[in-house]
Symmetry: C2
Subunit: 141 residues, 2 copies
């Protein structure tokens, strides 16, 4: 019953981007955000890339590049981020089970996952940001 580290990172990075967007239009650098959150730089890159490919972030290459939210935080749900980042949303692998189709558990598990995601779908990144704040200074080596 755990999310992968990538999903965790994705949520943090998106929240960070949302909080940053509240203040100004400056770009965030992957390296800086990774350092701030103690996330390995390469992992942060992969997560930012994934989020950018999905349209949630805008990335600008080259010197003075970086990334920022690509659309309003009010239009992005936490559920969407989790769905994107999580490699599997099947709590169990029923493929080899002898009960197969005559099993009352699978339907139940699906409903439980649906409830989990529904809860996350009910809150937007903007709402999550309202209840959050970045420590200042954000970089406190």
């Amino acid at each position: 019953m755990r999310l992968t580290a990538h999903t965790d990172y994705a949520l943090r990075i998106m929240l960070h981007a949302a909080l940053s967007a509240q203040q100004d239009e400056t770009l965030l650098s992957i390296a800086q955000v990774a350092a701030d959150h103690h996330i390995p730089r390469n992992n942060a890159m992969k997560v930012v890339n994934m989020l950018a490919n999905a349209g949630y972030l805008e990335t600008i290459r080259g010197r003075n590049g970086g990334f920022r939210l690509n659309r309003p935080a009010s239009g992005i749900t936490l559920g969407a981020i989790v769905r994107l980042a999580e490699p599997s949303l099947n709590p169990a692998d029923c493929g080899q089970c002898i009960l197969q189709s005559s099993c009352g558990l699978t339907a139940m598990l699906h409903r439980a996952v649906a409830a989990f995601l529904a809860e996350l779908d009910s809150q937007t990144l903007a709402q999550a940001a309202e209840n959050s704040s970045l420590p200042s200074p954000i970089s406190f080596l």
Copy 2:
């Protein structure tokens, strides 16, 4: 977003025990159930032990021993089994996060997990058994 194999096994074994209890009072043997479900015998033992220690199963040692439900299937929820078997119900490890207490995500994640478990709490093993049936013969090598 996966349950561990042990949790999966626990659900299957409990369902199996419930279905078996519907028919007669005979004991199930761990070895047999493990073979039926293609679960490694040692793992099945550990799961049965865990379930027995938690009071869900009764185990009888020695020759002609085995196990069976220790209380009515109508009084056991799927949520209870999952809570028991799952080693962690924290979808993310927030321990080292710089956002710490000023993070709007943790509360949300907790609510999502709560929704997941609530859904599983809403159905009993007896109800799950109603929608299930063991293949016959159960051992079909």
